[in-house]
Amino acid sequence: MKTAQEVDPGRVGRLRRYLILGYAGVVVVAIVFVSFLAIRTTDRVLKNKVSTMASALNVQMKLNLDSYLSRMETIGTLAFAIPESYTYDATAEGLDEYEALATEKEISDKLYSLCIMENFVDYGIVYRNNHTVGKISNGTVTQFGDRLFEDLHSMVSRQRTRDGWSAGYGDNFKRIYYVKEIHDNAILVISFYTTELESVFDNPEMLGDMRICLTDQAYRTLYASDGASALGTPLKDALMSRIQGHEQATVIDDEYLVTVNRCGDDWYVICSIPTRIILEEKNEMRLYILAAALIAAVLAVLLGAVISIKLSDSVTHMVTALDNKAHIDQLTGILNKRSFEEYTQTRLQSALVIEQHALILLDVDNFKGVNDTLGHAYGDEVLARIGSALRAVFSSDDFLGRIGGDEFCIFMNTAAPEGTDYRRFVEEKCRRLAETFRGMYTGDNKDYKISASIGIALFPECGQEFGTLYTCADKALYGSKAAGKDTYTFYDASMADAGTREADAT
């Protein structure tokens, strides 16, 4: 039964797919863009943070070293607390040997007491004649030989304080020397193993991959956190090229993070770590971001799809409702006049002459009396029941329409059951319809007795166009009215000259 034009589901489906795909595209592009920004920002922030931390670590190491060296210098300076240390000159001529020995013993004892708690290799005074007082190790004496005073004195690099630091003497990088001129013929020397610097450069365990090294002004390694084997070796070219010429800098690129700080005596504290190690977490973070973006994209697309489906369903319902309102007679639930005529005309245009159809015109007898007697509301109720009655009698393939106040029209699409004459099939429908009318309102119980007058025009016998068929059916209806109402009449040629209800009305 054609009651309304349905919204095209294929078109709605396509629209829905376009909507979802469009939405998904926008979301994915947005997420890719945001992820790209997030990864870039994360990279930048992480690099900045790591650089800052490495720089801070380096500064801390430099401060540690400065503090350590300063303490050594202080201990060296303490030698001046012994007056004999700067008044006695072992090179002076005419010294009383016994007195000299006593003085040297006194100086030695006092020097020992000053460095008693230190892991010094040397802490003593060397005179221009290479005579020594205090703690001068055999290793040092052997190493310097007869150039002991001369070479130690050449290590004085700071003129104001007449002292200096040195390492790598004779390519032996296991010791670090501090020298301070006592007077023209005497120099104080302190030396210690470079391993002592382990406490200075003690590195947090979590930064175990960070290589910390101390170099001299020629970038030769004086200390390296990764072992003594590097002592004396030049700084790796890869690191040198990044920090050479800088006194305080942090460099980070795809290969290395390197920080450098110049210490007091033209030495450099250099911390380095391959970038891939420190940014290992960055790659992990990038994976997280990408995974999160992927999940977000999938969720967004799913959410969009759900919302889209919900929205398109609502639209479909709304459009369908509007569509129904435009095509359906709201009172009876069947097609209004315009829609009925459109559908029927369209159907007839495609109908073949071998097909069989019927256009049935129905006019409610005495309906004016219903309105006049029982009111319009009751009349509306009656019309609604007529709509239901029509739907009950005819099939869903048939077009049902209300074409006037109390006039209805039916275009039968349904084929007659096999072996049944089509006219008899239509006649049966009309008979059932008339009976239904008779059963609905009998005049009892305060209702108003109504009936139906029906006119029938058959396709293609009566015509092949809607107008022709309608006219024929109207003439047949006129025949039914003329016959006393409450009956149905098939159009035949004899009625060609009969009048119509409109003509009669006029």
Binding site: Y98, K135, N138, T142, Y193, E205
Partner: protein, 417 residues
Amino acid sequence: MKRLTAAVTACAMLLCSGCTSAQVVQSRKVRKEITLSWWGNDARNEYTLAAVQEFEALYPEIKVNCSYSEWSGYEARSRVRMISDTEADVMQVNFSWLSEYSPDGTGYYDLEQLDPDKLDLTVFTDNALSYGRMNGTLNAVPIAMNAQTVYINKTVYDSYGLALPETWDELFAAAKVMQKDGVYPISCGSKSMWLYLIAYAEQSSGRRFLDENGKLGFTKDDFQCMIEMYVRLIGENVTPQVEYYERLNLGDGTYAGTVAWVSDAVNYMGDAIANGYEIIPVNYTALTPERSGEGWYAKPATMYAVSKNTEHPEESALLLDFLLNSEEMAMLQGVEKGIPLSSAAREVLEGENMLQGVQYDASQKMESYEDLGEMQPLLENSALIDLFVEDCNKALYEKADAAAAAAEVYHAYREAG
């Protein structure tokens, strides 16, 4: 739609909760730190530091802080540490310190209370361990035995057509030949000179420095004998003054011999050997060859003890065992401190054919004497040795006569003994 709204709200809340700042806690296992102290020369310092690194690699949960120095001044540092209760957890100690700091056995940790699974003492003989017992408590474990030994540069002596000296007279005779070239037949640092002269005095008087009760056995005359001998040794160019003693002169043959510990053999004579000289640990100098060894003393070379105050006895035991018995330490140390008393370490050295060289020869020489005296703390008292040298100088520079100088020394020892 309501369910959808609820799901979206839940997701939003979840995201918001993810955005709130959560407390991040990173906890790390703290390494136990123990300290190790020792004295020694460059070689000892280097191999001990290397051994510590190997130990830390073996036990990454333990960090060892090292405190070390040459012998000079170390004794004073050790005293400060012991008195101030800041001594190292594991420390190299001198034999004489046991009676100084732990006469009743309570001054150091009782090593037999340490976990035997961590410190294996079964590789030491009871006799070896007896050197570390004080009042029945095992306070220290000896690493090797030690004694003053006479090392002679045979090449130099041969060049003068002299036989290896075994008596004092032969040394004086050698000086007469060598002095024209500025070569000394023998040489000593102050402590070695002190012990060398004690041997001479004991041989001369027949008295022991300490009597059987551990009291001073020497008289003023004995000290006078020592001082006079010193003055004579210097005067006749047998040996340089102790203040002018320079080990470098051993390397080029200027000193044709020296008196030094067994444990110092390589340290003192290594350069000479490297320079092609043949170095022989000869019989200990005596009045006559058959009295060799008389007045000479032996002791554990160095010992290891654990602080009585240690808070990490288990870690200390592990380190101690590593230093005494491990293959790693045995290989690094070799015979630098003498022939190890630990059978485990000795087996390693035997297996590696490392029991040879001048240090080993010196050990063999020491072990050839059965009647060496047991070193006593009073014999190694640095302050008193300094006083002795001072008084020797008084006699040498005629600031006092030998008798007066000897009296001063005698009273000081009398008081200390």
